[in-house]
Symmetry: D3
Subunit: 149 residues, 6 copies
């Protein structure tokens, strides 16, 4: 986990920092709003990455933000195995395939989640809200794939 | 809309304020974290209620929080018509009825949402996570009620 | 209520904006963290003031922040009457007077609150945490002034 | 410390996750609002627990949230010794015993804090705001137990 | 100002809601994290638009989010007049024109701000961080256009 | 990194805690708003310091806040080398020297940042917004020191 705390970056530049950290190879990254000394609002940037990728992430943080210091520490990590299925969504005759990620958690309970990037692409193609695409994908998955809950 | 800004209430007392405001008749209420003068973190409490209920809400805010001033203004409001259906969830032989609220939005798209209080009660009865109850309710609703998306 | 939404001010400059808005005559002001379009973190600045003071507050916001637009609307307001008493705090022989604001709410319940600026000054004089000064003031008030709870 | 970052859980399900993590044996847990890639608001869930309890906490997080990955690392910890005293609160003839936790910090300064669960129960019994119960408990403690500040 | 409070939308869908509200004609829109009843984290969506555009914004909110109720009220608004100048940024031989918005506030102080969309486009073309493009634009503006500060 | 999670400190006392932690020798410290069990809003306090300073920081946290437990862990850290230059700002005949910190990041890109404490002092002397002092310092630095971007 790589972190930095910044109170002197114009907020509108944070999306560029997150894009750069992701492009450097981090699995995930995000910012959290904070209140610093003298009441200065700030952001903590957090990125998750492997030890190999870490220098590239640190470099991206220095290049894209105004920070003068970056810190990191090691965490252990457990993940659920996941598979993916293709499910059609859309009105008859205009169906698009969406990827649904399926993970099986402890206790055997399934989590099915439409891939958001797919949903955004299909939403644009159909002129639907993204939410409607996701709901349709979940409903289709429920009808076709889930045998019992 | 009734609001007050408070920076001297011990944070753990906010749930009591929200309960009291709701009990006074507000439709909904919530708090938002802020940064005030001298860097003091605070909370803005917001409550939505009718003009008739407003004095009771103001009274509850004064009684349950430390504020010395409450403000309000009028907003107009549009709501979607909604209906409710009963859907069974749970393993065969141990099914519980959950209320699913269904609203039809502009463009004809349906929003189906399990009632959270029901889901929490059923989760406790079944020993399931609340999330699993909600997913099962949505999947059952998708199988039984939705004809086309 | 005067508001503006800003995503291009370096966060460390917000304390200056709040000081300026207060100096312009606002009763109170604060910022709230937001997420804008394209995922840009921002702040909404809110200030409460009379209609007479409003132009000065708007002017201060334009001068001290980067905003290009400020908005305002009218709210009504109810306040509790309050009085103030002087209470001594500190070790014997080194006592300082602190102002305790006392308000009587609906239902007759009293709220007693040490004046924070006093507490900060006394804390510095005694080498105490501000929290300890406030607790001592509340305890002294409880012993001397409250007849029954 | 166990953490996960989640941007695809319906927010209203977080209270169930916190209850489950606590029930699994964590000392404490909370969520923090974040802004992720593409401007997606999310929550980081953090839980504190012993190494022995950690697998149960991780399991609860997987079962009750939608996360596909959980991480953890070790922290050291210092706590203040604390004792508890019983203090009566309420009007004469209708008094209830409330637990006040007392800790002595570095420098000898006492922190006295009414137990919130007690305060909520007594507030309901007396028809008082929770805040009033806590203030009465602190005032009673100040009168009866604190000899000098 | 159009608002709605939502605690049952998967957070990752908020960017789609903001895009849709903007596409419906709102000047600006953003979300603010809140804590609702029973400790449910939520978001308030706020949009600024003219009275003419308001029905389209309300419609977009209903279509793209899960809300069942939307509210609005009127605010007045003051804006600073602004002009735009074109400034070259980039290394010699590879310069790109960036729009710098210039507003003159009360007291005559200028605010010069590079257009972020331009900066993002140029950053991609040059392989620079967006921050570097903005700084170069400000520095170039300072050298070429500001006569005295 | 030293942290504690607190939900029973009156929010207006946080600035005193941050001052005390900084006075104890921490490089930096800040708070982050959280939502705890039962929907209680809280704050996580985070402080960065060396291993030598850590006991003093922990002691300050215990003395100035209400917490009963503090935790810490070790992070590694990289910083950019920085230098400082003095730049004059202000109208002719009333110029003040401001320190501009200059750091050179990976890739050779410079970050120039006026020292905020200087800017606040000069702003007060000139009757300028702090923002204007910072902009003037950056513009002067761009004119005088930057040879090419």
């Amino acid at each position: 986990m790589v972190e930095t705390t910044v109170d002197d970056l114009e907020p509108e530049l944070w999306p560029d920092v997150l894009r750069a950290v992701r492009a450097a190879g981090a699995w995930d990254c995000w910012t959290t709003a904070t209140i610093g000394r003298h009441g200065r609002p700030g952001q903590v940037l957090t990125a998750l990455c492997t030890e190999q990728i870490r220098p590239a992430v640190v470099d991206a943080v220095f290049r894209h933000s105004t920070t003068l210091g970056v810190r990191w520490t090691r965490w252990q990590r457990a993940t659920l195995p996941r598979t993916a299925v293709q499910i059609p969504v859309g009105p008859p005759g205009n169906e698009h395939q969406i990827t649904v990620k399926v993970a099986v958690g402890p206790g055997g309970h399934q989590t099915a989640k439409p891939e958001l990037a797919d949903a955004e692409r299909i939403a644009q193609a159909l002129g639907w809200p993204v939410r409607q695409v996701c709901e349709a994908a979940r409903a289709a998955y429920a009808r076709e794939c889930q045998t019992a809950l």
